[in-house]
Amino acid sequence: MIPAPFEYARPTTVDEALQAIAAGGEDVKVLAGGQSLIPVMRLRLAAPETVVDLGRVTELRGVREDGDALVIGAMTTHSDVLADPLIGRYAPLIAEATATVADRQVRHRGTFGGALVHADPAGDLPAVALALDAEFVIAGTGGRRTVPAREFSVDYLTTAVGEEELLVEVRVPKLDGQWGMRYEKFNRVAQAWSIVAVAAAVRRENGHIAEARIGLTNMGPTPLRAGAVEAALAGAEATPEAIAAAAAHAAEGTEPSSDLNAQADYRQHLATVLTRRAVTAAAGL
């Protein structure tokens, strides 16, 4: 289908982009890879007055190190993420989850930042960012602010990024050494979104699980941390039994939706199974 008419701006810097947003009128949409925005516009579920295309804002693209954090530019494409050696080394969970996103064509255009701001509950990267305790750097005309992952996701398709703001970059703590990670995704066909998925990062010490960070995809309008599981795992023995017992808490406090792919109770069941599998793999068992 054909989108409704819109104005188009193509800035080359973050400052220009912010100005274009401010000048764009009532309903402005930022265009990153367009893999979520364009379909919604073509279906006329969104009809922005102005589209601000970030495609030429080169400063937003790429991955760099900054002390004990990785800094991932919002416009870094999924395929760039997959090929990036820093991510492979310090945040393999992101690469593992990104590899499950859609198909090559979509990954070539879709961006890390776009996927996070779009905040689709079935999207894979928000729960990963949450599990990794990422920080989100958001720019507005008044300057930049940093939001922790736990505050980034606000509601269904809604994040802390304000109407006149841009997500600029995401800071991810480097995790290497004793950390093991696993993204366990459940869907029906290869290129589909998650019905439920679990992102797990686990630090082992002396046959025990010292720390576990677990993010749940599509178990509610926003990604969630499986707090009860994390608590049960902290200090637990790294055995299948202990992990299974902890994973049984995975659905606690969740209110997943019921849709064609799964009703809520089944999603809750899947969460426990996938949590067990993800933690088991992340713990190297």
């Binding site: 279906l43 849709d259 089944y266």
Partner: protein
């Protein structure tokens, strides 16, 4: 080249050669004419405003804002076209008293399904037309929505068409006892040791062809040319002429290259008629091309039946009777062959088995959904599914091996031709040999051993093997038989061969391809018949001005009927050329031998004339015999006396993750007998594609409506069509028992994979978890359904009807059943008020 060929100089036969398809380069690269590529001077573009409600009275349509929008030339409502639109045709009144409510192309005062046309915008550009859709203001006064067939047939049910007495269109019965093809069914059941009954559900499917529908109409004086992405240009021409009153000889229909159909383009579409009516009104060329959302929502759907199946047998496993009762969802209207699809299936429920008694009954039921109609297999997949599922259930009941039960009851190779309890004369085959080969291809014994191990160890992943030994009636032809079934047309096919002066050959076929590879296969047939090089042959099709007679492509009929017409026409060319050759070679016709494209004179080495040379000679026509016409061109119309009956054994090994319900095909093997194989590559391609679609019915696809009658699966996010990544490797094989009913010996392969695979897959999943107490799982086998069936019993139950949230809930909107969530915007994707 073999030594033999070197000696005679004859090229190796084309039939049987795995030639790559000559049409593929242009089809795959898109460097060809799809209907939507057509650009005509002054062409206007149509966009259709569609109903967002399933059942309502239209109380007002306000088009003023749309008519004033930039670029808009005209806006038509149902009231504007009511006088001249007539009714879309239904060509298959399966019973004399079938009720047909009539099918307007555009709703006038009532809408009966979501997506029905309520207004048409005509604009100078496609974008302008689309922009104006949202400006049309329609007031709807809601009526009760009828969706559930079992409720719809109850007395006192809400009515889809309140001017009718009920929601039942027809009651069709085939009773073998009454027809004299079997004994009394009730008696057979009364006398049986064992009766197994099941209620099986054939979910609604969407044909999901790759190229969306598209129509261009050009008026010139009182002539009209219509280009359409259709499977049936010939049938469309007759029907469109009758609906619009445009005389048939003033209407030319062209199907240029068409990107798939699967039955979904075997239709006279509302938009085809609307394009004709509007082009006639405005005297301007018009184009309409649907969006994917429109396609999923409004192009006809397939299947959607509830099957109540009873089977009777003795304790030894000899089947005694079969009883089938169907509720078949027609949707809101009857389209071209809507009522005929389930009725056609009536003849296939007995499958390959020797039932002494059989009774079939079917009610066609109206609901407020888009009409159903032909979809790959049309009636036969439903029948095959039911019989192959119930045979497994009977085997379980009897404690018999499911293959043993089949073997005990199937028609043996020495019993062909065999007249079944449904009155069909199966032509040829050997079920045992095909089965043996398939078992070997699968590695049946090892997999059974592994299954045993997994069961014993209580493995989280269980393994099952599913069987489907199927046959189908193909080569939809015998015109007299179709007549006896009240089908509105015959089933013959036409071909013409034109010998050009340079010796090149034009083959004109009435069977219009939409991806099957006719150009290649027909060239192979003619190359062998006429002995001319494959490259020298061009196949023309799809334009009623070029190929004036034909009945098009569906029902695995093209090669069997259309290819046979080509071969018959080639025979006539040779017969005509023989007279010319005899004259030029000064020999008696009886002394001429035709081989490798040359006439030679028996006993006179060296004396001979090639058929391509004769083509030039007769073009010049300087020297030809008295009393014959100066042409060796020929035409033929072929109408076989019987269907053909491909068969095969399909085996599926399935892994089921009992924790999550996820099913994964471990291995798939099939051996099909499709008679003579003209091109093994095309045959294998058809089998692969058919398997993909049949497996998709078993595991992935389902058109889901919510309680208000909105199609929830309105995009490919929620209507899951599997890709190569989701399908296993296929181990395929063939046996060849030629069809006696046509000169090629071919049986048809277009639908085989699709018909056979669905029950094999479901039987496999059930076999994996049967020991856990599971007796049925409803299609598609979503992980959730499999999990529920394992852990809670039953068939897995209904799915939630809300669409998934990807794209921000971009299905039709009122589908957010899974808790309140804000939509990206309230703007309608459909236009009009909501």
């Amino acid at each position: 080249m073999t030594a033999v060929e070197d000696r005679t100089g004859a090229p190796s036969p084309e039939i049987g050669k795995a030639r790559k398809r000559k049409e593929d380069a242009r089809l795959i690269t898109g460097r060809t004419t799809w209907t939507d590529n057509m650009v005509l001077p002054g062409m206007l573009h149509l966009a259709v405003v569609r109903s967002p409600v399933a059942h309502a009275r239209i109380t007002n349509v306000d088009v003023t804002a749309a008519a004033d929008a930039p670029g808009v030339v005209a806006v038509f409502t149902g009231a504007d076209l009511a006088e001249e639109q007539g009714s879309l045709p239904c060509a298959w009144p399966v019973t004399p008293d079938m009720v047909n409510p009539g099918h307007p192309s555009i709703a006038v005062d009532r809408v009966n399904h979501v997506g029905e046309a309520v207004a048409v915008i005509v604009a100078r550009s496609k974008a302008a037309a689309q922009d104006a859709v949202e400006l049309v203001d329609v007031d709807y006064d809601g009526l009760p929505v009828v969706l559930d067939m079992e409720e719809a047939v109850e007395g006192g049910a809400d009515l889809v068409h309140d001017h009718l007495e009920s929601n039942t269109s027809y009651h069709f019965v085939f009773d073998a006892g009454e027809m004299g093809t079997g004994s009394d069914t009730e008696q057979a059941f009364a006398d049986a040791d064992v009766v197994v009954s099941r209620r099986l559900i054939q979910q609604r499917l969407i044909p999901a062809f790759m190229e969306p529908r598209s129509v261009v109409v050009q008026p010139q004086g009182d002539n009209y040319t219509m280009w359409s992405a259709t499977q049936i240009p010939h049938i469309l021409r007759v029907m469109a002429a009758m609906v619009t009153g445009i005389p048939e000889h003033k209407l030319r229909v062209v199907a240029p290259d068409v990107g798939g159909g699967f039955g979904g383009k075997l239709q006279v579409n509302p938009e085809e008629i609307l394009c004709l009516l509007i082009a006639r009104r405005l005297g301007k060329p018009v184009k309409w091309t649907e969006t994917r959302s429109e396609s999923l929502m409004t192009a006809h759907h397939g299947r959607d039946q509830i099957q109540y199946v009873d089977i009777a047998a003795d304790r030894e496993g000899n089947v005694k009777g079969l009883r089938v009762r169907l509720l078949a969802d027609m949707g809101a209207y009857l389209r071209l062959i809507t009522p005929g699809v389930p009725a056609l299936g009536a003849f296939m429920y007995p499958g390959i088995y020797k039932f002494p008694a059989y009774r079939f009954e079917c009610d066609g039921v109206f609901t407020n959904k888009v009409p159903t109609d032909a979809y790959r297999g049309a009636g036969r997949p439903e029948a095959t599914f039911a019989i192959e599922r119930i045979m497994d259930e009977l085997a379980v009941e009897l404690g018999m091996d499911p293959m043993e039960l089949r073997r005990k009851n199937w028609i043996n190779a020495d019993e062909f031709p065999f007249t079944t309890v449904a009155g069909l004369a199966y032509d040829s085959g050997d079920y045992e040999t095909a089965t043996q080969q398939a078992l070997e291809l699968l590695g049946y014994d090892e997999l059974r051993a592994e299954q045993q191990r997994r069961r014993e160890s209580g493995d989280r992943v269980q393994l099952g093997i599913g069987i489907s030994t199927f046959t189908e009636m193909c080569g939809l032809a015998p015109s007299r038989v179709l007549g006896s079934l009240s089908f509105g047309a015959g089933g013959w096919e036409h071909a013409a061969i034109r010998m050009l002066p340079t010796g090149k050959v034009e083959v004109v076929t009435g069977s219009t391809p939409h991806g099957q590879g006719h150009e290649t296969a027909w060239s192979q047939l003619v190359a062998d018949s006429l002995g001319v090089p494959f490259e020298d042959i061009e196949v023309l099709h799809g334009d009623t001005a070029i190929s004036s007679r034909g009945l098009d492509t569906y029902g695995s009929r093209s090669l069997v009927v259309g290819g046979s017409a080509v071969v018959k026409a080639a025979d006539k060319v040779i017969a005509k050329a023989r007279k010319i050759a005899a004259h030029l070679l000064e020999a008696s016709e009886d002394d001429l031998e035709f081989s490798g494209g040359r006439f030679s004179v028996r006993g006179t080495p060296g004396a001979g004339l090639g058929i391509q040379e004769i083509a030039l000679a007769i073009f010049a026509a300087h020297d030809y015999p008295e009393g014959v016409e100066p042409s060796i061109d020929a035409e033929a119309t072929f109408d076989p006396e019987n269907f053909s009956f491909p068969h095969g054994t399909h085996l599926c090994a399935m892994e089921v993750d009992t924790e999550t319900g996820f099913v994964k095909i471990r291995k798939y093997a099939c051996v099909d007998d499709v008679g003579t194989i003209v091109n093994p590559l095309i045959v294998e391609g058809q089998v692969h594609g058919g398997l993909a679609q049949g497996i998709a019915q078993a595991l992935y696809e389902e058109a889901v409506y919510d309680a208000d009658g909105n199609l929830t699966t309105g995009t490919f996010v929620d209507y899951l069509v599997p890709s190569a990544a989701d399908l296993p490797h296929f181990d395929t094989g063939n046996t060849v028992h030629t069809a006696p009913g046509n000169p090629i010996g071919a049986k048809g392969v277009g639908e085989a994979g699709c018909i056979a695979s669905t029950p094999a897959v479901v039987n496999a999943a059930l076999d994996a978890v049967r020991h856990l107490g599971v007796t049925d799982i409803r299609m598609p086998l979503t992980p959730e359904r499999v999990w529920r069936a394992i852990h809670a019993g039953g068939d897995g139950g209904d799915r939630a009807t809300a669409g998934s949230n990807a794209y921000g809930g971009a299905q039709t909107e009122t589908t957010a059943g899974g808790g309140a969530r804000s939509s990206v915007s309230n703007a309608s994707s459909l236009g009009g008020d909501r």
